[in-house]
Each structure stands twice: as structure tokens, then as C-alpha cells.
Amino acid sequence: MDALSWDGTLTSRDFLVSARAFAEKWKEFNSAFPPWTWVPCPPKQPPCHLPQLLQQGYLSLEKICLPGSSKKGHVTSQEDVDEISLTEGEEEFEPVDNATLVETNNSLQVCYYDFHIVYSDSYRVPVLYFRGYYIDGQPLALDEIEKDLPACSAKVLLESKWTFITQEEHPYLNRPWYKLHPCGTSEWMKLLFLSDDSRAKIGVAVEQYLVSWLSVVGQVVGIRIPFEMLNNPKSCN
């Protein structure tokens, strides 16, 4: 692809190629981290009008403990939970068992994050979906997540017209997830590729797309890309 005439978008086929390449590279340079896995999804409608439907799905990185995302004292937003069950006295129905360890409450309160990279057909770019939750499964609200985000990301979110978090239904899970809105993605991806002289010369390597993309998007949510991944574009063929 010629970098100058390129509009910064990807086809769904390119996304698939790029996703595979990205997952491979991640494993290679970031083996200490859990791997990104490809989650295939059956197409929503039977493929009647499209000739050969591409495999649909998304890249997934789950149960990630972001640095500094541990909370002091689990302040569950339980304002809506009927207090009946919580205020009722303790029930004594079990014999005392001295083989059960009674844990002193000093265990770390951890928050986990799930990240999905989903292809957007309307914007023709990858979109980052994410959510956070306490270890017992209670989801984190957006303001709680924002406290977890790296300090620089708050700045990025404030200043950039192109990066903001919205809540939307996950296209495959049909539950509300947070996402970084993709409306500016193609523009800054184009800039990113054009500003790199060497890359502008050799053309746009589809394989490298997600690596570059996540190097920007990841800053917002605290996912770091090992430098070697960026620095090592595979020769494009």
C-alpha cells in the first residue's frame, strides 16, 4: 500500500492479518505478560449475500492487573443493593471448624481489566473495548476506572479531541463495555505512518498496523508496548 494515498483505515481482512501478526509479536517480545488471544465469533447473520465471509472475532487480553490498580478497602458501589441481606444479622448454621483458616483481612484488593480489540466496520479501524472489575466480579464504574488510569492518560483524555471514552454495547457480547471512540483513529494512524520516513518509503505494512495503533491507544489505558515490537517491522512482502 502506498503510504501517501492511504487513508489510515484497514479492511476486515487486513485486520485479521494484523491481529494474527500482533498476537505473535506480543508473545515474542512480551512473554512475561499474558498473551492476546483471538476469540472467534460466529457471524450474526447467515452469510447469504456475502460471498466468502471472513472469520469474525476479536483479540482479547483478560484479567490484567494494571499497576497501581489495587484499591484500598473495597468501596463497593452497593447503593442500589437491597440492604436487607446485608444488614441482617449473621447466621449461625455451621459448626465451628478449626481446620478452616480464618484470614485476617490484609489481602490485597485487586482490580482486573479486560481488553478487547474489535474491528469497526463503519470506521474501518480497530477499536479498543475495555472494562474493569473487582476480584469478586463487581464492575468498576467509569470514575473508578479513571482513577486507575495512568496520570498521563487523564491529560490525553482532556486534551485530545480524538480520544475519549464512551460506553457502548460490546458488538459480540451484547453487554455495555467502555470503548475509546474510533472517530479520529484513521486520521492519526495516517499521520503516524506518514511521519515515519522509512515507513513512508516502504509503504504501509498491514502487519504493523495494530502494533502502531496500540502504541498510541495503549497509553490511555496503561498498556505498554515493548519498544522492540515497534522497532522491528517485519519486511513487508
Binding site: 512473554s31 512475561a32 499474558p34 476469540v39 472467534p40 465469533c41 460466529p42 450474526k44 492487573c65 463497593t76 458501589s77 452497593q78 447503593e79 442500589d80 443493593v81 437491597d82 436487607i84 441481606s85 446485608l86 441482617e88 449473621e90 447466621e91 449461625e92 448454621f93 455451621e94 459448626p95 471448624d97 478449626n98 481446620a99 478452616t100 483458616l101 480464618v102 484470614e103 483481612n105 489481602s107 490485597l108 485487586v110 472494562r131 472489575y133 476480584i135 469478586d136 466480579g137 463487581q138 464492575p139 464504574a141 479531541k161 475519549f164 464512551t166 460506553q167 457502548e168 459480540y172 457480547l173 451484547n174 453487554r175 455495555p176 471512540h181 472517530c183
Partner: protein, 712 residues
């Protein structure tokens, strides 16, 4: 304890639960679409993996796929696949009650005992050797409050109690228990076990280390063959979810029960398998030795040992609760979606957009017809949340096609009141809207009232006065000219932002009224940012009716409002406009309002004309702020005009407003009952007399006479 050898009681760290949001989503959907009030127990699947963090234990996790699939559910959640190393399935059972009382009334001890009995039987009939995951069988009780999207739940991980309890001989990190060669071989064997889809999710196993330091992992069912070889070390291994350095995790309890009751072993060497970054971590894993005294009665089959295992909630024996209203309540989802949409507009295009001023704005819509319906919808789209609609009509059969808030249902049985139907419709569109409907007729000049109805009319006048007083913005959207007169006067008196939209057959007028004659921009908060031009306009304003003040709907008229519906043919009285007209005019009316709200001078802002280069408004983010917009569908054209207030205006001139202030309701009654009273008062009568004597041509082409408009 650090490798201590004292004979203390072996204590197990309880299993902990984690429930993914997806589980509750699917449970809700199943409950609604499939189970109904059937509350029989449901088999579910939990997932766990060895501990993989030196400070955090792994939890038994429930996911959407823990529940049977709901065929009517749209989402395509992949079904449980065996062999996932991070998702060892564990069978469980769910008792979901229909009421919170039943939830609290469940026989917890009995339910736990029933599950413990299943484990006990699986140990005795050998099933636990074939599928060792049944040793960690669990129980969940829950109550799903689907109206509030809150869930009460309580997990139990039944453990068969050894009585007397097992004692600990020693417990050390596994790395200290093996030679270098053994450790190497063991790690390799573990990694192979964990990477094969056949064994990755088999949580209980035998670890055999032969005299050559060669380690092998075997299935429990191979126990007999492991026995035959001499000089072998044999350890009972399991995936340990616990991270603690001095305690094994909960799954070991039922494993010990199996070991002692099936194989009659008194001294058990166990291995708590834990990992780090996907590989066996022998520093984190533990090796220990426990002494078991086989409890009395364990050999008799009908006997079932005691069981414990209800999960504590922060150390207390109480259930847990979770609220998912934020992600399940459609109202909250609609609100956050609408807010994000508007924020998006602010972020992308209009950084100065003041969303708070819009959401707190109180809008009064007089008329809930074609214009009222469309204005209300567009206001909501802009984030306006407080809307009051005034109308005294009912929804007629012909209305729904043009009046976008109504459907045929509203027309049945004589027709619903428009004020009521419109409010219901707005709430259906956006549940968070604070909409009110007021059924009221607007008193009109030239429509004389019999004395016995006077009181009603006066009451209406006062209600209208109070309504206008309690709102920030008034839209005049009624279907006659004269019905706009009283509200125009009241708005001029209280200096409210007022917007008028009126329709002809294929032309429309949308305008904002100027400030009232006695208003001073000094007390307006819009003046906080003072500027030279603002001072200039103030000068103009203090000079009463000095021509600077923008006009109202009646300022260009040379006739006072009279009864416009009498003596007209049917097509002149009814809605005979091109259907596209009302949506266009309504949309412009709302956009005009948003322009006023974002203009630094607000209601005092001068009227801009298209292409006027000297206007500071052209630099406003929302563009120019016209006074009047007139459009014609016949020409597909639209123009912006400025008309200043007239000191003979029947609605907003200082004579009329001060007369109203002096006489109040008495003045209004006179205006209503005497057709020429207003014209006499304002000098229009004089004006018309002199005008006709000069035979002036009033039709100047651009300023079309409103009388040509059949209003809607």
C-alpha cells in the same frame, strides 16, 4: 510456619468466589425468557486455575457460559471448551429463588449437606477418580431482583470434615523439597501436563518421582500402578488456588477425604501446585505432609461426614450483593448514552457547548401540535430535560401523521388529551425527561367571554402567568395568532426568552422576541462578560423603545390580534401546510434557542443577518444569531431578517406592558372583550387612519404580511 515440624492442625484457606457480570446478565435473561417462576436447581459450571500471583489467590469464577445457553439470547458466547488451562471446570448447582424471603429461608445447612453427600458418593463409587473436578463441587444460592438489577448470592464450597482434623507434619516451598534434577524434571512434567489439552484442566493428580530423579504426573485412576514401583516418591498434587505460603487451599480437603477413605493412607504427602506467568513455580508451590486419623464411621457407606464451606463476606456469615443497574437498567443506559453523545459533540465540534445550562433549562411549550411535538423532540436531542407542554386539545385521528409524538392508540375512545399523550410519549422516548403536561386554554383577545366564564378565564391567565414565571424559555407554538398575544405580553413583562414559530401553507416564520420594554441588561447574568458593544446596546435599551430593542411577534402588525378562526373557510382554519414545514420550523426554533443560550448577551443579543460582516456573532462557535428566519418551500429559500420593536406594538410596547402592570387582570379582560381596545390604546387606530389616507403600500415584498399565513 516455615518448614516447622510441630504437629499443628492443618488449616485450609477457603475458596473465594468471583462472578462475572456476564453471568448475571445471562441469569436474568434465562429467568425472564426461559425459567419463569420455575425455581428448580440449575446445574452450573465454575472455573478456576492454579494461583498465578504471589499475593492474590485465584477465585472460583462464574462466567456467562457457566449457565446453560439461552437460545433466545442474541449474544454468541462461546460454549465451554474443555482443555483450557486457565478454566478448569468445576460442577456446581444453583438455587435461584423467586423472592428475597425464600432466599433467606433456604435450608443452607441442608443444601450444603446434600452437595457434600454427592461428593462423598463420588469418592466411594470411583467417579472422583475418573473426573476429579467433582471433588470441588460447589453450591450457589441467589435471588435475582430483576426490577432493580440487583443480585443477592451466597456460595458454598462443601468440604468433608475430618474428625479429628488432619495435623501438619511439615509444609515448605516445593523448591526446598527436591534436588535440582528432580525440580527440573518436575517442572518439565508440570509444563507438559499444563500444556496438553487432555490434562490441562485436570485439577487433581499424582506426582511420581523415581529413583533416577525423573518426575511424572499421573491420573488418580493410575494410583494402583503407581504403588507397585519401589523407591518412588509419591505426592498427591492439586491445582491450588491459594497464594498463602503457610496454608494449602480448600480443594485439598476433599482430596484428603478421598485419599484416606479410598486408599487408607495415614501419612499424606501433598503438593500444592501454583504457577507464575504460565509456568510451574516451585518457589510458590508447597509440599507438605499431613497425618490423618480415619474418622469413625467413615467406612460405613450410608454415613455422610459433616461438611462446612459457606463463604464469608468480609469475615461475616452474610450473603453478598451486587448491583448491576449501571449496566442493565435501560433508563440509566439511555441517560449515559445521551450524555456521551452530547459530550461527543462538545469534544469534537463545540468545546464551548454548555451542556449543564441545557440540561437544567426549563422550557415551556405552548401548544402540543405539529410544532410542539417536533420542538419537544429536538429540545431533548439537545439535552434539554425539563419540558412543560400546554394544550387543551385531544389527539384526533388526523394528528399522528403530522404530530410526531402521537400514535393511533392516542386517538381511540375520543382521543387522549394532547398534554397527557405528549408527556407519555416523551417519557417513552427518553425515560429521564422531566416532562409535565398542563391542560389549559390560552385566553385570547377578540374572543369575548360571557361574564359567568370570566372567573375561569382569569384563572387561566394567572396559571399562564405562573407557568411563564417558573420557566426559563417560552415557545409560542399555538395555531392562532391571537393565542400568542397574552404569552407575548407576559414574556415581555418578565423578560423571558421567547421563541415563536408560525406556519403558512408553504412558508414559515421563526423568531425570537426581544427583551421586554422595562428590562435592563445590567441585571442579566449574560452581561457578566461585559464588552463595549454590550454597553452600546444598553444605551439603546435604556432609551425606551428607542428602536434598538428587537421586536416581538406582534411588532410588525398594524392590527391587533382578533378572532382569526371565525368567518374563515375550513382550509383556512385547519392544518393545511406542506408537511415538511413544521419539522423545519421547529428545528430552527430550537437551534435559535441554543444560539441565544450560547451568546454572551443572551436575550439582548442583536439580530444578525446572514453575511453581516460587522457582527461579532459571526465569530460565535454556533454561528450567527438571527432575529427572524423566514422560509419558503415554494422557493426552497430561507432568509434572516431583523425587525425592531414597535412602540405601537399591542403586546410588548411600554404602553401595553405598563398598562398591564397597573391594571393587571382587568386590563386583560378588557383586551379580550373589546376588539379595538388594544388598537386604541397603542395608537394603532390612529396610525391606520393616517395610513389609509395616504394609501400607502404595506406590502414591501420582503416583510410579508403575517395575515397571509394560516398558522398552525
Amino acid at each position: 510456619m516455615e518448614g516447622s515440624s510441630g504437629k499443628s492442625i492443618l488449616q485450609f484457606a477457603p475458596f473465594q468466589s468471583s462472578v462475572d457480570e456476564g453471568f448475571w446478565h445471562r441469569l436474568s435473561s434465562l429467568k425472564l425468557n426461559k425459567f419463569g417462576i420455575d425455581d428448580s436447581p440449575i446445574p452450573i459450571t465454575g472455573f478456576y486455575a492454579p494461583c498465578s500471583h504471589s499475593q492474590v489467590s485465584n477465585h472460583l469464577t462464574l462466567l456467562a457460559e457457566s449457565l446453560p445457553s439461552d437460545s433466545s439470547e442474541e449474544s454468541e458466547v462461546p460454549e465451554i471448551s474443555r482443555g483450557n488451562r486457565n478454566r478448569c471446570s468445576v460442577p456446581g448447582i444453583l438455587y435461584n429463588t423467586n423472592t428475597v424471603e425464600r432466599f433467606h429461608g433456604l435450608d443452607k445447612q441442608g443444601l450444603l449437606k446434600a452437595e457434600a453427600q454427592k461428593i462423598w458418593e463420588d469418592i466411594h463409587n470411583g467417579r472422583a477418580l475418573e473426573d476429579s473436578s467433582v471433588l470441588s463441587r460447589f453450591l450457589l444460592i441467589s435471588f435475582a431482583d430483576l426490577k432493580k438489577w440487583s443480585f443477592h448470592y451466597w456460595f458454598a464450597f462443601p468440604a468433608l470434615v475430618l474428625d479429628p482434623p488432619a495435623t501438619l507434619v511439615n509444609l515448605r516451598p516445593a523448591s526446598q523439597c527436591f534436588s535440582l534434577e528432580e525440580a527440573e524434571s518436575l517442572s518439565a512434567a508440570f509444563n507438559e501436563w499444563r500444556n496438553s489439552s487432555l490434562t490441562a484442566d485436570v485439577p487433581f493428580f499424582l506426582v511420581q518421582i523415581d529413583t533416577n530423579s525423573h518426575a511424572a504426573i499421573k491420573h488418580l485412576k493410575d494410583w494402583e500402578t503407581c504403588q507397585s514401583a519401589d523407591g518412588h516418591k509419591l505426592l498427591f498434587g492439586f491445582y491450588d488456588p491459594c497464594h498463602l505460603p503457610n496454608n494449602p487451599g480448600w480443594p485439598l480437603r476433599n482430596f484428603l477425604a478421598l485419599i484416606c477413605s479410598r486408599w487408607d493412607i495415614k501419612s499424606v504427602h501433598f503438593l500444592c501446585y501454583r504457577e507464575n506467568r504460565g509456568f510451574a513455580d516451585l518457589g510458590l508451590s508447597l509440599v507438605g505432609e499431613a497425618l490423618i486419623t480415619v474418622p469413625q464411621g467413615w467406612r460405613d457407606h450410608p454415613y455422610v461426614p459433616n461438611a462446612v464451606g459457606w463463604e464469608l463476606n468480609k469475615g461475616r456469615k452474610i450473603p453478598r450483593g451486587i448491583s448491576l443497574a449501571k449496566s442493565m437498567d435501560p433508563t440509566r443506559l439511555a441517560i449515559s448514552a445521551a450524555d456521551l453523545n452530547l459530550k461527543l459533540m462538545r469534544w469534537r465540534a463545540l468545546p464551548s457547548l454548555n451542556l449543564n445550562s441545557l440540561s437544567s433549562l426549563k422550557c415551556l411549550l405552548l401548544g402540543a401540535g405539529t410544532l410542539g411535538c417536533q420542538v419537544a423532540r429536538t429540545l431533548m436531542a439537545w439535552g434539554v430535560r425539563r419540558i412543560t407542554l400546554v394544550d387543551n386539545g385531544r389527539v384526533a385521528m388526523s394528528n399522528p401523521l403530522r404530530q410526531s409524538l402521537y400514535t393511533l392508540d392516542d386517538c381511540l375512545n375520543g382521543g387522549e388529551l394532547k398534554a397527557t399523550a405528549a408527556v407519555n410519549s416523551l417519557k417513552r422516548i427518553f425515560p429521564a425527561v422531566e416532562a409535565k403536561g398542563v391542560v389549559m386554554a390560552i385566553p385570547m383577545p377578540g374572543h369575548p367571554v360571557p361574564s359567568q366564564e370570566e372567573q375561569t378565564v382569569l384563572d387561566d391567565c394567572r396559571s399562564l402567568h405562573d407557568l411563564i414565571d417558573s420557566h426559563d424559555v417560552v415557545f409560542l407554538l399555538t395555531d392562532t395568532r391571537e393565542s400568542r398575544w397574552l404569552p407575548s405580553l407576559l414574556c415581555a413583562n418578565t423578560n423571558k426568552i421567547t421563541i415563536t414559530a408560525a406556519l403558512g401553507f408553504d412558508s414559515f416564520l421563526v423568531m425570537r422576541h426581544g427583551a421586554g420594554p422595562f428590562s435592563s441588561s445590567h441585571d442579566s447574568k449574560a452581561e457578566a462578560a461585559n464588552s463595549l458593544s454590550a454597553d452600546m446596546s444598553n444605551l439603546g435599551l435604556t432609551d425606551r423603545d428607542g428602536g434598538k430593542r428587537l421586536g416581538c411577534y406582534f411588532c410588525n402588525d398594524v392590527v391587533a390580534p382578533i378572532d382569526s378562526t371565525s368567518n374563515r373557510t375550513l382550509d383556512q382554519q385547519c392544518t393545511v401546510t406542506r408537511p415538511g414545514l413544521a419539522p423545519i420550523a421547529s428545528a430552527l426554533a430550537v437551534e435559535l434557542l441554543v444560539g441565544i443560550l450560547h451568546h454572551p448577551h443572551g436575550i439582548f443579543a442583536e439580530g444578525d443577518v446572514l453575511n453581516s460582516s460587522n457582527s461579532e456573532s459571526s465569530e460565535q462557535p454556533l454561528g450567527i444569531l438571527p432575529h427572524q428566519i423566514r422560509g419558503s418551500l415554494a422557493q426552497f429559500s430561507q432568509m434572516t431578517l431583523v425587525g425592531h420593536s414597535s412602540d405601537s406594538c399591542t403586546a410588548c410596547c411600554s404602553t401595553v406592558v405598563s398598562e398591564y402592570r397597573k391594571k393587571g387582570m382587568e386590563f386583560i379582560l378588557q383586551a379580550i372583550n373589546h376588539p379595538t381596545y388594544l388598537e386604541d390604546l397603542t395608537g394603532l387606530t390612529e396610525l391606520m387612519k393616517s395610513a389609509s389616507s395616504f394609501e400607502l403600500d404595506w406590502d414591501d415584498g420582503t416583510d410579508e404580511d403575517d395575515d397571509d399565513c394560516v398558522e398552525v
